[in-house]
Symmetry: C2
Subunit: 345 residues, 2 copies
Amino acid sequence: MKKGNPYGTHRVIEPKGSLPQPATKIDNDMEIYDNEILIDVQTLNIDSASFTQIKEEAEGNTEKIKDIMKDIVDTRGKHQNPVTGSGGMLIGTVEKIGPALEGKTDLKVGDKLATLVSLSLTPLRIDEIKEVRKDIDQVDIKGKAILFESGIYAVIPEDIQENLALSVLDVAGAPAQTAKLVSPGDTVAIIGATGKSGMLCLYEAKKRAGITGKVICLDFSEEGLKRAEDLNLADHYIKVDASNAVDVMEKVSEVTNGKMADITINNVNIPNTEMGSILATKNKGLVYFFSMATNFTKAALGAEGVGKDINMIVGNGYTEGHGEIALQILRESKSIREAYEKLYA
Amino acid sequence: MKKGNPYGTHRVIEPKGSLPQPATKIDNDMEIYDNEILIDVQTLNIDSASFTQIKEEAEGNTEKIKDIMKDIVDTRGKHQNPVTGSGGMLIGTVEKIGPALEGKTDLKVGDKLATLVSLSLTPLRIDEIKEVRKDIDQVDIKGKAILFESGIYAVIPEDIQENLALSVLDVAGAPAQTAKLVSPGDTVAIIGATGKSGMLCLYEAKKRAGITGKVICLDFSEEGLKRAEDLNLADHYIKVDASNAVDVMEKVSEVTNGKMADITINNVNIPNTEMGSILATKNKGLVYFFSMATNFTKAALGAEGVGKDINMIVGNGYTEGHGEIALQILRESKSIREAYEKLYA
């Protein structure tokens, strides 16, 4: 049996010397190396920016969506959207465990798990696409995948419905980072706040900012805003086009008496929302870009262009205990759990 | 006289409602609005990532470089490279000051200044390109530019040669941010450390990390490494291809006994160096991406892909006092000043 590298570099076909994520093509042969885990895949949960792009390209046509997805995997050996660069995650059952992992992993054959590393670096083979659930970015397939030794995962908890757990684990980084960033008394603006990731961020922001803080929920969807308000997740609810920077600034200014936000969290899955996030934030404040549609140069030069001394953070999908933190929200809040069961499971 | 917006939104032609930086086309008519400053331009200092791309496209041919630059300004009304999205800065003389700025600005007609906002948002007209200084990314022109009310600038100091001040002010954000991030005892890895921005970062890192810290200088250029070593700017000097992530990791591991860097600063002006920066950094550490060649998605998914809980920061070209901090280095260090006079003035 061939010996593998912990980061999966042995699977990289092109370019040589790179890691699986930036690689343009990886080997998706399903014979495992000694430190790999073979997964029998059940469901793919496509990254929101990626799935939005695929749906647009397919003009909403389900068969076309399937073709685009298969084509991506055929070309790259992994489901990494060539336009957005992003992936998603998967749920499946452990089929084989490489002998080099013995004593190193708690997993056993038959365990149901969700991978918490991106599909953009996970060797994947799709044999058949069984169902496309367009409204929740989930796709049921027949196929196999490989988890590398460094790959993080979560065993699906007993007390939470499988698809719901997958939906929440997919965006676990955002609420977990929010929990770590927000302090009591902070004014927090969350842009794109009524989606799957946004509402979990609202919940954590409100919990951490507390009674002396202020949480501002911004979104374009009236339905979403109403839902967030019904769930009582924020102090202010504002309808705005996040790509209209000046409008975002003026509306945040209004509810903060011109003081602006200490922390702005961007969860919007469309381009050109960097500047609105920057202008919503006070000097010496912080912008956390969780959106995969963020453009690095637009953020960097945007802040400089308006002379704003703010800290801008690249959303890291992983932070210690992120799966635990995100799933815990479903246990703490009955109303969020009910809403997420309806929307995302 | 027409009334202008502080951020220059009145100059945006396309798309409407956006700010000048993300706009694809702005108005470069040189009749000023009431809150604008007209500058008689002497020199453009093109952003390193942008100029590298232009030089490559022109295959090093000076006339082709001129054509590409003129074409960019004709199309966009500003010198924003359509490939990299980045700009640069300029040096010139104040020609006119809008009446609405009276009492608000210390500037007077005839002052020589450097704009510290990016060319990617500055209305610019090029009448003639006089000289292209390919080795230092500077281009002398005959032309005019507009500084918006929110635009930051520095009056050229008396005690520092003009072109040298411009060169240093162009990258002022990087050493200033380094100064603010590094604490005594930190291990700091600087990738792309022997360029204009890199050496100033090395200097600040060494000053702040102090005798108990460790500064690691990584670069591809042997000449650059020798120069940095002659200037005694770091504790270790490593030749490496920054896009070879695994190699970067192994070499940093070697000089840190496997502990890796607390802070990694990326100044590399080529793509695909995100992963090397991530792997060079210890868990809970920090990566500061100053390079405009950084890809947001590659950074975000890269860290997640290898399960690294690190903080990744988008380099903000502006931080309070950045011009002062950068110029001060030239006053503090005679050897850096001499080297920069030779290399960048």
